[in-house]
Symmetry: C2
Subunit: 471 residues, 2 copies
Amino acid sequence: MIYIDKTSKTSLYEQVYEQLMEQIKTGQMPAGSKLVPTRTMAAELAVGRNTVDKAYQQLKDEGYVEAVPGSGFVVNELPYLPESHGSDSRKGPERQKKQTYEYDFVYGSMENKLFPYRKWGSCMKEALLRLENGDIAVYPEKDGEMRLREAICSHLKQARNVDCSPEQILITCGHQFSMEIIANIFSDGGARTGVSFVMEDPGYDGIRKVFMNRNFEVSAIPVEEDGIDIRPLKGKHVDLLYLTPSHQFPSGAVLSAGKRMQLLNWAQETGSYILEDDYDSELRYYTNPIPSMQSMDNGGRIIYTGTFSKSLSPGMRLAYIVFPPDLMQRYHDFYYRYNGQVNIILQQTLAVYIEKGYFEQQVNRIRTAYRRKMRALITALEDVFGEDVRIQGGKAGMHLLVEFFLQQSGEFLTQEELIDRASDCGIRLYSTRPLYWDQKLCPPQQVLMGISTIPEDKMHEICLRLRKAFR
Amino acid sequence: MIYIDKTSKTSLYEQVYEQLMEQIKTGQMPAGSKLVPTRTMAAELAVGRNTVDKAYQQLKDEGYVEAVPGSGFVVNELPYLPESHGSDSRKGPERQKKQTYEYDFVYGSMENKLFPYRKWGSCMKEALLRLENGDIAVYPEKDGEMRLREAICSHLKQARNVDCSPEQILITCGHQFSMEIIANIFSDGGARTGVSFVMEDPGYDGIRKVFMNRNFEVSAIPVEEDGIDIRPLKGKHVDLLYLTPSHQFPSGAVLSAGKRMQLLNWAQETGSYILEDDYDSELRYYTNPIPSMQSMDNGGRIIYTGTFSKSLSPGMRLAYIVFPPDLMQRYHDFYYRYNGQVNIILQQTLAVYIEKGYFEQQVNRIRTAYRRKMRALITALEDVFGEDVRIQGGKAGMHLLVEFFLQQSGEFLTQEELIDRASDCGIRLYSTRPLYWDQKLCPPQQVLMGISTIPEDKMHEICLRLRKAFR
């Protein structure tokens, strides 16, 4: 029985989370028992489904429960949660104490010095001047400033083989808000229930959260070495299949050409749409970027999305969607009374920046910097840890998946122990657990290391420090 | 029977719209007959509810049908739609031919020269410099940059008596996206159906559209001279009551102090929330701005929203919500995996701009400019049209409601005729019909005139031209 105190200062989700965790830890809910379905629990407690969902998600992220297809959430055996660490791992993202780290292997941020201050500043100035002689004091064009859409269109054509007109491009205020728009279109603003959303396992949990929040029927299919396992999809209609074909997040797999063709045929036959998230496609270090799936699609089944967070800055908050024409129409139908999302000066600045060729230069600059960081980290890991480390990734993107095999009284240190020990010496590593839908797939010694904020010449020193901490 | 051709280039909603309009015009659907409910029609045609909804809305906006509480959409008597104008009024917003107007009385845009180019440019530069020495290459703080939230907080305290902490303020990419966030929180992302949303009649149709899109149960209550009629609310719980208390849009009414108190008590007693849209509160020309309702609220029942579209530029795409603490928690619960919406340079620029006192200066500048425009237009209208014009508004805001009483073969020119004739001489006036929930409330000779883009010294000339066109 869970008791909710609505007058308490503790948030509702925390109350649910803490009581369930207590029941699991004390054995009141033994391994194998099922959590009450979200909807039922929400109704029983008279709280929002999101509240319960968030509590369940956190229990899942922390490994207390796992999602079992067809059974909902099931309580885990808890070998990897020794009591002594209970109080740490109990802390949710909001409650974590503000610890400062000397080195933070966060995914997605970048080094300040890689932002092109001077060039961006001069483009801002030029955009402002141009607007002074044009129109600043109006609402931006609803789908995005045409000049920016044209610039993005020709960039995508050249860099990613994307075949579209500027009219198919929509400018949004970030990738997750691109997803919100797609969620609105596919669920008719929430009126259509049970819309199916299938993603890769492991996959980006921020996207999963958006579609769970919007009450989609979310499920996941394991990723193999050449991308998602396509057999479970055979003959089955899916409203939206979310893929990261060029560089699967986080596994780094590239979806093979054969699977791409089969998936495009499947989408055509079953009337499914594929959401191609091309989030970091330009960061491929030793071969040319893989062409987009969109470029192979003749049937209008691909929704292509991209962002400027990786190449320019996550502070940009500027992303885009390339819709097939029929979905652009559905977008217009839904959003016909809405204004645009992105500041007009920012849009014009980015247009100038791309037109002048600065963006291409910036991508090259970032690519070079990250290739060097990546190589330095891999070399350092191998030098320092030798046989005790297994590395996944490195040819592309901004992160590695790293497994450390270091024993402590006969057992390997767990993910949580590795992260805690690194933290104690000022280094922040990240759990991969939230990225797994099926918790059994998560390798118990695996951590995620984002390279983008770490200086190249510190990699060796960091690995030595980690080695010491892990002993 | 309506027939949909999904392969046609004509959009689905247009097909529905055109066939229904034809049936109404030919008398197949006589006055008084009801349209099939949206949901049923959508299911019959196998199209989205939004498609049908958009077609119905357009028929309503154009006066073919009206919304009758309890009956849905009912076909109107059509005295004001003479056949000769049928082909014009048939055109939806998207299909209207690109006519350029010499003078456009659009609501919401502003004159280019009123944007503070130099000061904004210098603040951008300062913000960029500051970020160079700080953090640009990170995701912005999720709820908005603290520095900007602090600046807005002290501005609101001083200008609008708003009583809040910076932690209650959320930065968004525009007013409609503020509304989307509120819609997600109140409907649990769409899982909760039948959430009630009550607004003023007339009222801003862009807001109505957001909540209809998100499947809220939308209804409206007529506005009286001292604001919304509060009797229908007595003892009744409403999830969200949307109000524009300081300057009702579009009627210009100010919600009386007595009604404010009663509404706050009502909200407290019934557990309802009031959404206070303070969109143009600073533009009051002859008296001090009316304090916000938020400042009178002790029970945490007010969600206060504002925007920088009116005082700075609609191209800004920057707005904010002040949540009561419990709703801020619900916001965090729903959005805990989302990033912020607004570019970090833009947020920091605006923070600098407010801190330096420039924003206050800008508000004063805009207020002076608009007061002069407003006075010039009213004087010109009265001089030129004398007894034939009735004006509503003028003491605040950016628009007037104007009724022209000009006869043509014994009958007054209708709203549509006035707009068409003005258009023929290069002047754009706006229909108020979309703003009315109950079409019967819409005065048949009323048009909306936004003053913000029209030069003060042109008002007299424009009125003379209109006079000629209306003869």
